[in-house]
Symmetry: C3
């Protein structure tokens, strides 16, 4: 069994940003020289998400607006009594999920035709990390 | 380490369908001759979901209606400006999740008493795939 | 490849409870003597969730109230025609997710600064299990 662990760093310029990370994840997988295995792609922060879906720009707006409808930023969250203002971002991490596990087959990501891996930042403008861990042989 | 990769194909007769895939996944696991490991079951499409829950028919209707309340088909999604009409199905993929990782113990799926694996199609009537990848020893 | 499988048992005193299970999961990982790998932490029941987020008490209330807004207990679920009354708990399992996969690096959980693993019970007062399965080398 082989394993390779790398970290992707983000410091978005705006509070909210959707970053397509398919290419860097694929590049880590190819560099790992693992033919068959799994790769975990997981946000190490609880106010951003990692998910798989389409790269269509209209859909990215839909996902962002949908997350706002289900977890509105302006809601008076108890969490804000600590001085924080990012309650909604915690809930969006839970709504969209903070991680995915992708299959590695014949040395490459084994994705469907429209599957793209996204890092969704909901409380940005600070340094944050995603762990990419490949396991296999 | 051993690994086995198979694909389940679906072409549902209706746009929406909930398919219990516990038996085919179990059969792949048993055929893999892996005693201890993990199996990834992941939709390769971004308008269908893979989740674990109960097989009770009333609950299946509840899940479908709940997903419609949280991601209504008739909403004017930006994604529809591309000519698509399946915006809601993308959001349901995110709501229910597109994958599960199941434990393999003593050569079999290690599930709780009511855990069943479901493929939930929200934009069907076309050929779609689920990857089943078993890793272990 | 090595693997270690353990089960955490819960019997909460109230129907709803959020239990921080980071310490017991970490202890299983350290006991597994696996340096590099993945650990699956997965509820074996379909009315409780396993998720990663912050341990801040206000946020725990926010998550609980948010889950009630999106999946209200008092809704007339079809599932209740079977005599059950826990329809909302099934949906909360889907909303928050029933499992996480955590990275193991240098023999320890590889978590971000605020990441805590939670078992969220929505239909308690009975014996329930979470499987913790560590895979690696």
């Amino acid at each position: 069994m082989r394993s390779v662990t790398e970290y992707l760093w983000f410091e978005t310029k705006t509070p909210r940003e959707f970053v397509n990370i398919t290419a860097p994840v694929r590049s880590i997988v190819k560099g790992a020289r693992i033919q068959e295995g799994l790769v975990l792609v997981s946000s190490m922060h609880i106010t951003s998400a990692v998910y798989v879906n389409d790269a269509e720009p209209g859909l990215l707006r839909d996902i962002s607006e949908w997350a706002d409808r289900l977890a509105p930023p302006e809601h008076p969250y108890h969490h804000h009594e600590t001085g924080e203002s990012n309650g909604h971002a915690h809930l969006k991490n839970l709504l969209l999920g903070h991680q995915v596990v992708l299959p590695v087959t014949r040395g490459d990501l084994d994705l469907g035709p429209w599957e793209q891996v996204y890092y969704a930042e909901f409380d940005g403008q600070r340094r944050k990390r995603v762990i990419v861990k490949v396991l296999g042989e």
